[in-house]
Amino acid sequence: MSKRTVEIHWGKHHNEHVERLNKHLKTSAFYGHTLEEMVKATYNNGSPLVEFNDSSSVWSHDFFWESMQPNGGSMPKGGVLDQIKKDFGTFTNFKDEFTFAALSIFGPGWVWLYLKKNERKLAVAPTQNAISPLVWGDIPIIGLDMWEHAYYLDYKDDRSAYVNNFLDHLVSWHSVMVRMMRAEAFVNLGEPKIPVA
C-alpha cells in the first residue's frame, strides 16, 4: 500500500468522516456514547440514523489501520492458527474465502474476518457501504476496506491483487491475536475440561 494512498485515505477520507462525525456530535443525542456503542445504536436495526454512516466509517477505518502492520502477512501462529484451521479447514481455505467474499461485493463495502458470538466460531463476510459486524452483535477480527479509494491509486481495477497483497504482506496477525484474546473474554471458544471423578 503506497504512502500516497495512506496519506489520502487516512488524511482525507478518514479525516472527513471524523470531522463530519464531530459536527453531528454537536447536536446529537448520542453524544457521550463510546464509538462502538454509537455504531450499534445508530444502526437502528437496519434503518440507520444520520450519525451511523460517519460513526461506523470512523470506527471501521480505525480498525482497518490497526488490522495492518509493516512487514505483516505470512502466517499466524499458535491459538489463532488453530482456531482458523478449526473454523475454515485450512489456512489457505480461509484466504480463499476471504478473497472470494471481497470480490463479491457490489459497489462500496468491506470484508471481515469476525467471531460469531452465538455460534462461537470465526467466519468471513462482506458488508455494504459502512456496515461492520458490530451491527450484528459480533466481534470483528480483521477488516479490509474494499471501497475504490482504498486501492485504486495502487492497483486500478485489479481488486484481487489488492486483497492478495493485503493477506500476504499487510495483515497484522499480532493485532488479530490481541483481538482474539479480548474476544475470549466474551465468547467461550473451548469446552471446559471437567475431570471425571
Partner: protein, 225 residues
C-alpha cells in the same frame, strides 16, 4: 469511429422440447478517442473505465443472463429471484455506462456547448437557469455517499425535468418508471480518482466542459414529443 451498439445472438444448447436463444451484449465502442476528453477527464481514466469497468459489467451481465435463462427454463423460482441483484448491478452498469459515453463529447466536437432549443427553455423553466441546474447536479453528486450516479431526468408523465441520484449501478428507472435519462454523471470513485483523488467536486466542476448537450436535447425532444 462511429458508435456501434452491437447485440450478438448466442444460442444455448436446445432443450429437448423447445428451441431457445439468448440475446447477449457486447461492449459498445466509444465515439471518440480515450484522450479526447482531456483535460476534463484523463485518457487513462477513460481507457480503464471503458475497457475494464464497463467490459466487466457486460461480461458479468451476460453470465447472469445465462444463469437466469437456465433458472427460468427449469422453473427455479428461488434461483430467478436470487439472480436479481446481479442482474440489476451488472445490467444497470452496462445500461448506465452506455448512456454515459454518449453524454460526453470532445470540446472540438461541441462538448460543453450549452443546450439550445426546447431543452434550453425547459431547463430555464424548471430550474431558473443552466447555472442553477449545474449547481444542483454538482451539489447532489458531491453529497452522494458511497457510489452511484446523478441524473438529469425527464419525467415523461409530469412533463418536467428533475435531478435524481441512484446508488451503485441502479438505473434511473428504479427511481420512477416515467423517468428518462438525459444526462448521467458517474460519481463512482473509479470515474475520477486517478486524476482528482478524493476531490469529487473538482471532477464535477470540470466535467461540464465535455458534456454533450446535443445528445441530451435529442433525447429530450424525442421523448417529450
Amino acid at each position: 469511429m462511429a458508435l456501434r451498439s452491437v447485440v450478438s445472438r448466442k444460442t444455448l444448447a436446445p432443450a429437448l422440447r423447445h428451441y431457445r436463444s439468448l440475446t447477449t451484449f457486447t461492449l459498445p465502442d466509444l465515439p471518440y478517442d480515450y484522450g479526447a476528453l482531456e483535460p476534463a477527464i484523463s485518457g487513462e481514466i477513460m481507457r480503464l473505465h471503458h475497457q475494464k469497468h464497463h467490459q466487466t459489467y457486460v461480461t458479468n451481465y451476460n453470465k447472469a443472463l445465462e444463469q437466469l435463462d437456465a433458472a427460468v427454463s427449469k422453473g427455479d423460482a428461488k434461483g430467478v429471484v436470487q439472480l436479481q441483484s446481479a442482474l440489476k448491478f451488472n445490467g444497470g452498469g452496462h445500461v448506465n455506462h452506455s448512456i454515459f459515453w454518449q453524454n460526453l463529447k470532445p470540446v472540438s466536437e461541441g462538448g460543453g456547448e450549452p443546450p439550445h432549443g426546447a431543452l434550453g427553455w425547459a431547463i430555464d423553466k424548471d430550474f431558473g437557469s443552466l447555472e442553477a441546474l449545474v449547481k444542483k447536479i454538482n451539489s447532489e453528486g458531491a453529497a452522494l455517499q458511497g457510489s452511484g450516479w446523478v441524473w438529469l431526468a425527464l419525467d415523461k408523465e409530469q412533463k418536467i425535468l428533475k435531478v435524481e441520484t441512484t446508488p451503485n449501478q441502479d438505473p434511473l428507472v428504479t427511481k420512477g418508471v416515467s423517468l428518462v435519462p438525459l444526462l448521467g454523471v458517474d460519481v463512482w470513485e473509479h470515474a475520477y480518482y486517478l486524476q482528482y483523488k478524493n476531490v469529487r467536486p473538482d471532477y464535477l466542476a470540470n466535467i461540464w466542459n465535455v458534456i454533450n448537450w446535443k445528445y441530451a436535447s435529442e433525447v429530450y425532444e424525442k421523448e417529450s414529443a
